[in-house]
């Protein structure tokens, strides 16, 4: 593939903390290689800003290989930018061309308050996990791993749900800021496995209750979450969670 360099205009959300209002600022960036990752382009810009005595842009990032779920930019109106099934850190500049203007915002959701610039607080996800995103097994209690065969089909579906990276793109993409895709992925992973059976009902009820308490919105089936999910988590997990929730609600005493 041909390599090329480009000049771009960035409009980036700047906000000093959760209490103060934010606003867009415009930054020109020059000589960006098509081989750079999107975050490397931000590195170049930040180095320039620091040298010029200006405030660099704060953004979350860590593994830079699309698995830790830390990076979180909303780029040109899409969570993680224009490429499908992709995280911001894996987006490369060959997705853009010379002269483009790129608008970058933080995840916007009441349950994800802005910490600074493009960084948001996603601790609500930890609290939803605490409500039931586990199998209650203490260390040392397990039986031999092969004593319980699991249908490959179910194991594969469980794995696909479990590959959620907890980045929050589903919430950012949803007009209602719903966290249904995130929650349903964990509920599905465990509901599909025999090990998850004993807590099947309490799990879904408690996780959904915590999700509502955190201030995430309702699901209205627009499927924006699936479309922008970097791991392609399917909305069929939401359908499964709704069934689980209904069943659990009916049998609850």
């Amino acid at each position: 593939m041909e390599h090329y360099n480009m000049n771009l205009t960035l409009k980036v959300w700047k906000q000093s903390n959760s209490r103060e209002p934010g606003a867009f600022e415009t930054y020109p960036v020059q000589n960006i290689s098509s081989e750079m990752s999107f975050l490397e382009m931000f590195d170049v810009l930040n180095e320039q800003l620091i040298r010029d005595g200006k405030d660099p842009i704060a953004f979350d990032h860590d593994c830079r290989e699309g698995i830790c779920g830390t990076c979180s930019m909303y780029i040109n109106g899409k969570a993680h930018g224009p490429w499908e099934k992709n995280t911001t850190c894996q987006l490369h500049m060959r997705a853009f061309k010379d002269g483009d203007t790129i608008v970058v915002e933080p995840w916007r959701a009441a349950a994800f308050p802005v910490i600074k610039d493009l960084m948001v607080d996603r601790s609500a996800f930890d609290r939803i996990m605490q409500a039931g995103g586990y199998i209650s097994v203490n260390t040392g209690n397990a039986v031999d791993a092969n004593s319980l065969p699991i249908d490959k089909k179910d194991a594969d579906l469980s794995f696909m749900a479990a590959s959620c990276i907890g980045c929050g793109a589903c919430v950012a993409a949803c007009k209602n800021s719903s966290a249904m895709l995130f929650v349903s992925a964990k509920v599905s992973q465990l509901a599909l496995l025999p090990q998850g059976e004993p807590e099947r009902e309490s799990r879904v009820l408690n996780m959904v209750a915590q999700m509502d308490k955190e201030g995430f919105g309702n699901c209205t089936n627009t499927y924006a979450c699936e479309a922008e999910c970097p791991k392609g988590i399917s909305v069929s997990n939401i359908a499964r969670m709704n069934r689980e929730y209904l069943k659990a609600g009916l049998s609850a005493d």
């Binding site: 779920g69 099934k85 600074k116 260390t139 791993a145 065969p149 249908d151 490959k152 194991a155």
Partner: protein
């Protein structure tokens, strides 16, 4: 002074059982009164915190990430080893133990490695019970694959995301303990010092990275589960935030550093594409199950890979190491790639890459599929299409990642790969109980030095992290805390906390007051270049001596000319990074000193002065069969204390994979 490794007496295979049978215990009522600090929430930290919380201890966890789930263990791809022998291919605890000691080039402590092999099977059982969705066969049983340095299939995996699934399992267990009130979790917090009272570790100073405030936390014991220090090289497969700071602070408070120069350079990473590069991406070792590594037989061959006929390709690993072929250990594969590129056979624009080719595997799998489906007259295109589907199921996410980064489709043309810094076998020196030389201060997982010698085998890091956290520390920590049941929690207005906090505060203020001209990043890049050029895949006396001088100069320059924007009392990622880079610079010097001292080649440590005629690493057991354990004695001043290595079972020989 002598190092007490506290290896239990008795035959190798009975040591751990015997230890567990006689170790001191803490009763449940006392456990509730004992507080434990766990720094780092990767596989080692999350599993330790969860297991200790389950036992009833009061635990606090700290991580610099925004959630424990993001620790860098999440990025481990290929798998986790366990001596289950589910494949009936001759595996056993002894074989895993033997392979690990040999793979580490006889520089690991046998008793620790044996324990690791013993607990390995329980890890898989526990993870499956937690709901970790490992890959399965059609019969519903667990699937295995091969990794380097072994001739059995003992690696359990979840596509190319095994670390993710294991970490999410440990994180789930951790969150359950948070819900039960046994663990309190502090995210976006960085440990900046260990607090010592009466010669014991009794707490930490941590910084809340959101508001910049320093905090004091007491613990009867402190566990460092803070990972490795590969980012000293700037470019590595580590996450951007991975750092040595917690371990380094502990080192300066008296914890010895073991084998700091032992670095693992992973053979299969996506090559550097330019100066802007911020990190390197691993392509899992599991790819070597099916991928064949080669370079052209002609130097400077500029033809496309697919235009080079079979007879003009040099499958150099298969040629040099017929017994293990493409699955030789990482150190051997990395050096062989470097050797070919240095000789001018490299490929790609920079000529610093070799091919990892799946064409044969695609054809082989395609033929199997055709056979399975009884399609006797399938044409070549159909075979290839079916073969690609099999390869996609095995490695799809890795192929996708490769294509996103390079813009090339690895199903159509071979991957280009080159070695990159991946893991550090060195780390804080610990005894058999995982305690450092500071009483009450423990190191688990990659943060300690203990199990992998001079080279770690693939799929063993996940095993070690979880072994330490789930199955070792719950026993060994009790042995220390049993003597501490009468120690009430010490209030954090104790003068030792005052003193530690003031020192941390002063250092931050000095950093912010320099206001020089050069960015933190630029210093980090320069350090990385020195380390890679002179303390990387090949090392020699002259280069190491130069490196030590250059690093000292770089340190002086850093402390007089670094430029950090923003304020202390706010979210300030540049300030966080500055503290970490300052520590990396000091560590870099120690790594070079250690590499200079160890005038032998072993595992990932290759001293050019010490090689066989065929260019293989040449150990010097007579003079270097010891762990180099370094005590900090002041700026640029370390004392070497040797822990001799005695091999009772696996007799050191020239390691051969031919």
């Amino acid at each position: 002074m002598d190092l007490k490794s506290k290896i239990p007496d008795g035959p190798m295979h009975e040591k751990w059982t015997d230890y567990k049978g006689h170790v001191k215990l803490v009763n449940p009522a006392n456990k509730r009164k004992l507080e434990i600090i766990v720094v780092g929430t990767g596989l080692a930290g999350a599993s330790a915190a969860a297991a200790l919380g389950e036992l009833g201890y009061k635990v606090k966890t700290f991580c610099f990430q925004d959630s424990p789930r993001r620790a860098h263990s999440i990025a481990a791809q290929g798998g986790i080893n366990a001596a289950k022998n589910y494949q009936n291919d001759g595996d056993s605890v002894f074989r895993l133990f033997y392979d690990t000691v040999k793979g580490g080039d006889y520089r690991a402590r046998e008793a620790n490695v044996h324990r690791l092999a013993e607990v390995s099977a329980a890890i898989i059982d526990h993870c499956v019970a937690q709901g970790v969705p490992f890959a399965r066969e059609y019969g519903g049983l667990l699937s295995n694959r091969s990794f380097g340095g072994t001739q059995v299939q003992r690696t359990f995996y979840a596509a190319g995301q095994t670390g993710q699934q294991l970490l999410l399992g440990a994180y789930s267990a951790l969150e359950r303990q948070v819900a039960l009130g046994n663990v309190t979790q502090y995210s976006r917090h960085e440990m900046l010092d260990v607090v010592m009272i009466d010669g014991k570790a009794r707490g930490i100073i941590a910084r809340d990275l959101v508001n910049g405030k320093l905090e004091r936390h007491f613990g009867h014991a402190v566990l460092l589960c803070t990972g490795g220090y590969g980012n000293v090289f700037y470019l590595s497969t580590n996450a951007m935030g991975s750092n040595v700071t917690a371990a380094w602070k502990a080192h300066k408070k008296g914890a010895f550093f073991g084998n700091p120069c032992f670095t693992q350079i992973h053979p299969t990473c996506i090559p550097v594409s330019g100066d802007h590069q911020s990190k390197l991406t691993l392509m899992s070792e599991s790819l070597r199950n099916d991928g064949r590594i080669w370079v052209p037989k002609q130097k400077d061959d500029s033809r496309k890979a697919i235009d080079i006929p079979e007879a003009e390709r040099d499958y150099y690993l298969e040629r040099r190491y017929p017994a293990f072929g493409n699955l030789v250990p990482r150190d051997v594969a990395s050096r062989a790639a470097k050797e070919r590129c240095d000789e001018g056979y490299g490929v790609g624009t920079t000529k610093m890459a070799v091919y990892l080719d799946f064409a044969d595997a695609i054809k082989r799998y395609g033929k199997i599929e055709v056979g399975k489906q009884g399609l006797d007259n399938a044409n070549e295109a159909a075979i290839i299409r079916m073969g690609k589907a099999v390869v996609e199921e095995k490695y799809g996410n890795l192929f996708e990642m490769y294509e996103k980064i390079t813009g090339e489709n690895p199903y159509e043309m071979p991957m280009r790969i080159y070695p990159a810094v991946h893991y550090t076998m060195g780390g804080l020196w610990v005894d058999y109980e995982l305690q450092t030389t500071v009483p009450g201060l423990y190191a688990l997982g990659e943060a300690n030095f203990s199990d992998h010698g001079a080279n770690r085998l693939g799929a063993s890091a996940l095993m070690q992290g979880l072994a330490d956290g789930y199955f070792v520390i719950p026993y060994t920590l009790g042995n220390y805390l049993a003597d501490d049941i009468r120690t009430a929690s010490i209030p954090t207005n104790h003068p030792a906390f005052d003193e530690a906090e003031v020192k941390v505060q002063q250092r931050i203020e000095i950093l912010m007051s320099i206001q020089g001209k050069q960015t933190v990043e630029s210093f980090h890049k320069r350090l990385g270049k020195i380390m890679w050029d002179k303390c990387g895949m090949a090392r020699n006396e002259k280069g190491l001596k130069e490196a030590i001088e250059e690093i000292r100069q770089l340190r002086r320059e850093f402390w007089s000319d670094v430029k950090i924007p923003g304020k202390i009392s706010e979210m300030n990622p540049e300030l966080d990074k500055a503290g970490r880079v300052a520590d990396f610079i000091e560590l870099g010097e120690l790594m070079c000193i250690d590499a200079l001292n160890r005038n032998e080649s072993c595992g990932g440590h290759f001293r050019e002065e010490s090689q066989t005629e065929e260019g293989e690493a040449k150990r010097d057991d007579e003079n270097f069969s010891y762990v180099s354990s370094w005590a900090y004695r002041g700026e640029s001043n370390w004392e070497l204390i040797k822990e001799p290595l005695n091999f009772e079972i696996v007799k050191p020989t020239q390691r051969s994979y031919k």
